[in-house]
Subunit: 421 residues, 2 copies
Amino acid sequence: MSLIVQKYGGSSLADAESIKRVAKRIVETRKAGNEVVVVVSAMGDTTDELLDLANEVTPLATGRELDMLLTAGERISMALLAMAIKSLGQEARSYTGSQAGLITDAKHGSARIVDVSPTRVRAALDGGAIAIVAGFQGFNRGTGDITTLGRGGSDTTAVALAAALKADVCEIYTDVDGIFTADPRVVPNARKIDRITSEEMLELAAAGAKVLYIRAVEYARRHGVTLHVRSSFNNNEGTLVVNPKEGESVEEPIISGVAADLSEAKITVIGVPDVPGKAAQIFTLVAATDANIDMIVQNVSTAATGLADISFTLPKSEGARVLKALDDDKRLVGFHSLQYDDQIGKLALVGAGMRTNAGVSAKLFTALFEAGINIEMISTSEIRISVVTRADTINEAVRVVHSAFGLDGEEVAKVHGGTGR
Amino acid sequence: MSLIVQKYGGSSLADAESIKRVAKRIVETRKAGNEVVVVVSAMGDTTDELLDLANEVTPLATGRELDMLLTAGERISMALLAMAIKSLGQEARSYTGSQAGLITDAKHGSARIVDVSPTRVRAALDGGAIAIVAGFQGFNRGTGDITTLGRGGSDTTAVALAAALKADVCEIYTDVDGIFTADPRVVPNARKIDRITSEEMLELAAAGAKVLYIRAVEYARRHGVTLHVRSSFNNNEGTLVVNPKEGESVEEPIISGVAADLSEAKITVIGVPDVPGKAAQIFTLVAATDANIDMIVQNVSTAATGLADISFTLPKSEGARVLKALDDDKRLVGFHSLQYDDQIGKLALVGAGMRTNAGVSAKLFTALFEAGINIEMISTSEIRISVVTRADTINEAVRVVHSAFGLDGEEVAKVHGGTGR
C-alpha cells in the first residue's frame, strides 16, 4: 500500500462539476489500494474575489486579518471536496492547516513552515478515510493566529505533508501535462520532460517556469520528496521530479529545458566609487527593503575614473521601493545616479549535464548571436546559464536556444487554458 | 466604562459599503469610552450561496463538512469588518468561534454551547482593541472539530459572550426598529415595545416573532443578560429585553404583544384507546424523531367508545417524518388513523400582566368570535394564551386582537426590507 499526497489547484476545482470530477479521481486512487491525502487550493477565482472585497473595504488590509479572510477560500473547497467524496461512498474528512498540524512562524502573508505534526491526518488514514487538507494556510503557536504561506503555498503544504507522512509520492495536479523543455505557448514543439532532478527543477522554477513554485521544490529537495507534476484533465504520466542520491548515476540529457521570465526589471547604480565595501553597502540597503534580488553584475572600473557600475535584476513590483531606498542614501553611498529598465527579458538554460560538458555557454551565446539577439547581462550557476536580453526578443531567444540544444520535439504540445496555480 | 456586545446580522453586512457603515458605528461606540465586542453573521446571502454550492456537489452533505463549509461565511465578514475598523484608526482583531472560546457539544448543525472562555477576547479588550467574533460557530473539544449552533446561532453567540464577559448590555442589530406589539406588515399601526421582560420575549419568540431567536432569549434570561434590539440603519432606541429580579416591581402593561405563526401543521391521532400510558407511548414515538412539538390537546373520550383524539402542532418541515413514525407503530399503539392539516395559523397573546388580570382569555375569545374567526385549539401558559385558527384568518385575527387589547398606536410603523437574521 502506497501513501500518495495529491494537490489540486484552483483551476482543477473551479466549480461543483470540477470538484465532483476530482473526487472521482481521488476515490479511484483510494480504491486502487492507496492511502490518500489531498491538499486543495481555493476554488477558481475565490482568492481574487476575496482580495477585491478587501480592497473595497480598505486598501490598507493588514496581514492578520487578510490571512483570516483568505483562508476562508480553502475552507470552502475542502469541505465541498470531502462531501463529494463521501457521496461516492468513501469516507473523507477535511482539516484546516491548523488541524493538520502545519505550524508556521508569525509572518502573515508569507509564513514559513517551522513544524509539521499531522496527527489527525495520520489518524484519518488509519481509520480508512481520505484526508483533505487546506493548502496555503498554517497556524502560529506563539500568537494563536492563522497564517498563510504566500504564493504557491498549496504546493508547499502538499510537499510538507508528504515529507512528514513519508509519502511515496507527492502528485501536483495542474492544467498542463507536466514540465516542458520550454513554455509550449512560446515553443509549440516543446517536449514534456519525463524525469528531471529537483536541482534542475529548482533552476527552472527560479528562472520563471510557472508550473511549480520554487519554495515547494526546495522543500521537496531538502526532504527527499518525489514530485509528480501531472494534469488533472487526463491520466497521462506527467513529469517526475526526483532526488538522486549522492553518486547515484542518473542517465540524463545535458540540457533539461529553457525558461523565460518577463516579470523582472533591471536597476543600474552608476558611478559607484571603486573602494572596498561599496557593494556591501548597496546590497545592505536593498536587503532592508525585503526585495528579491536575482542577477547581479558589476563591471570593472576603469583606472581613469575609479568608478564602477553595478546592475541587478529584481521583480518589477519591487522596483519603486528599492529605487527609493537607494536614492534616500545616495549621498552616503556616493554613487552618481540610478537607471531603471523594465523592458528586459531573462532566459535561463538549465541542465545538470552542463557540469561535465564544456562548450554549453559558447553554444548558447552563438545561437543568440546568429539570431541577432544582444546579451546585456550574464550569470551562471553550476547547472544554469542565465542571460538578460531586450524583452521583445525573449520569445525568439527561447526558440533559437531550444532548437540549438536539440530540444525540439516532433509533435506540437497540447496546451490547456493557462498555467496552474 | 461599559462593556457592550453588539451583534450584526447578515442584512447589516450585505456588502463592502454596509461593512464600512457598521464599522463607523462600532468605532463611535468605542470612542464614547466603551469596550466593544462585536459578533457577526455571514454577509448577506453568503450562507445560502454556500448551501447551494453544497447541494450542487451532493444533496447528502453531512454535518461535519457542512459546518466546515458554512463557517467560512463568518470568517469572511469578521475579517472584512476588522479591516474596516482598522482603516478608521481603531485597533481591531477578529476571532473564530474556537479562538473566542465558544465550546460546544459535538452535535453538528445544532450544537449547544457547553462552555465559554473568551480569554483572547478579554485580552484584546484589555489591549484597547475592538474584538470581532464569528457568530454561529463553536468548537468541540472531544473531536477537535468545528461546529455550528443552528438557526439564530449568532444571537446566541452574542448573548453567551455577553454573559461570560459580564457585559452591561448585548445589542442585537437588525433591520427593524425593535420588537413590535404585532408584525407591522400585518398590523400597520403596531407599536414598538420600549421594554419587555425576557419571560414575555420568550413567549413572543416561541409564538413566531422572528426578530429574536428563542435560544438566545433563553440564554439571556438564564444568565441575566440585558438585550437591546435595535436597528443598524438609525440611532433610535430599540426594545430593551430585561430580567427583573424576583419581587422587583416592574411597571408594565397587561399585554405586551400579539404574535402569529404560519409555519406549523397539526397532526391528529384519531381513536386512541383511553387507557393509561397511551399519550406517553405516542409522544415517546414522536420524541424519537427529534420533532419540536408545540401545542398538545386531548379531547375527553366518550364513555360509549372509550376512544380519545389527540392533536398536536409541529413545524411543517417535520410533518412527514412524524407521520411516518406514528404510522409505523400504528398497531402497537392501537389508534384508528392519522389526520394531517397544514392550513392552520397560530396566534399568541403575551403579557406578564395577565397573571394578575382575570378576563384576558374571555376578552380574546370574544374578539375572535365577533370577527367570525373559529378557534380550533387553545393552550395557555402563565403569561401567554395561544389559539389555532384557519391559516387564512390569522392576519385578521391578529388585527382584531391587537385592537381589542388597546395595542394600536397612532402612527404607522416604518418597516425596512424584511426581517433580520
